[in-house]
Amino acid sequence: MKEIILIAISAILVENFVLTKFLGICPFLGVSKKLSTALGMGGAVVFVITLSSAVTWVVYEYLLYDYPYLRTIAFILVIAALVQFVEIVLKKFVPTLYTALGIYLPLITTNCAVLGSALLNVERGYTFFQALVFGFAASVGFTLALILFSGVRERMETSDIPIAFQGLPITLIAAALVSVAFVGFQGLFGI
């Protein structure tokens, strides 16, 4: 039990996907402009990563055990299918969220965080339950970073920024400052 809690907390804070592992930067920069879209994207990512962690673990353990070199191809296809599924479900049941997420929903397929967590699960030899917890916690960490950062960006809208820094550069520099805060968590539990 202690181990599970440790995996969860370290996945959220110590090795935050966005701010210390650099997984999922594109959606981080793309949809963190407003809190509402950040929440929507975060929800979709939590759902997809948790599901894909479970499915890819089973696929790797039972289908690919003798062919580990096929994992990249197999994982990306599983993830692509899952994203398609989530898209259909959202379109059918939550159309407002579907339109709000727009282009970013199909882009979850090419979100490094999803494939990254599947690969990390395999690399670290997690059990099924550990993999599930890690996937869930990592995506919660992703959502946390997105929400925190959307607050920073909403403030930036009204501030006076030099022309050359407007847009992407100032966003990256603000992300650097938020990331400094997360570096502070390193050393927590001596991980």
């Binding site: 594109c26 070199y69 990249t72 990306i76 296809l77 050359a164």
Partner: protein
């Protein structure tokens, strides 16, 4: 003939300067930030991605007329995943150091937006020859961008360049540059510098036509600026 040669050069140069995938189009940011703690890793990642891009562009441009429109994205991703696996196995066998340093970012080349974007926007619409040039241009632009960011971070963050000690004994390196925040910081400042220079370039262009050297000049400027 001269015209097609001109277009070929244009396609090749496009990726380096006008549409540099990292610095202008802001694609593939994850590997850009993650592997650029050292200039050497940046080059390794750049070459690996260029290889995948070259392979996938060739294959996709060859099969572009056979693949039905509806299933093209899954087909593209499968092709890209195939080439990524090849690169992964090759690097594991021949470049174990870089393989270890890049870690999970080698399999993650599959989800590098640059490669899928080129497949979708260029290789699925153009001939094999043009697609090869496009892959080389885009891959080269990616590699150069990673090299610039990697150099900046390595020189400031650990006082070395390509592994050789440079300023390490003179000033204390600012370790934050090789930690995660340094990635965001270096990338932010480089994009800002490019914005600054390219806005100058547009102004120059208004005054006198034909300032072709504007952007290579500015990327050299960044590199030099990083050295100080």
């Amino acid at each position: 003939m001269a015209k097609s040669k001109g277009r070929a050069m244009q396609v090749l140069a496009n990726g380096f300067i006008k549409e540099n995938p990292v610095l202008r189009l802001v694609l593939g940011t994850c590997p850009t930030l993650a592997v650029t703690t050292m200039a050497k890793n940046g080059i390794g990642m750049g070459i690996a991605a260029t290889f995948v891009l070259l392979g996938s562009n060739i294959v996709i441009s060859l099969i572009r007329k056979i693949v039905p429109d509806k299933v093209r994205i899954p087909v593209f991703i499968t092709v890209i995943a195939g080439f990524t696996t090849i690169v992964e196995l090759l690097m594991h066998a021949f470049l174990p150091d870089i393989y270890k340093a890049l870690g999970i970012f080698i399999p993650l080349i599959v989800v590098n937006c640059i490669i899928l974007a080129r497949a979708e926007m260029f290789a699925s619409k153009n001939s094999v020859g043009m697609s090869i040039l496009d892959a080389l241009g885009m891959g080269g632009g990616f590699t150069i961008a990673l090299f610039i960011i990697g150099s900046l971070r390595e020189i400031i963050g650990s006082g070395t360049w390509m592994g050789y000690p440079l300023t390490r004994d003179l000033i204390d390196p600012a370790v934050v540059m090789i930690l995660p925040p340094g990635g965001f910081l270096a990338f932010g400042f480089i994009v800002a510098a490019i914005n600054k220079f390219s806005s100058l370039r547009i102004r120059n262009k208004e005054i006198s036509q034909g300032c072709g050297l504007g952007c290579p000049g500015c990327s050299n400027g960044n590199n030099g600026g990083g050295g100080q």
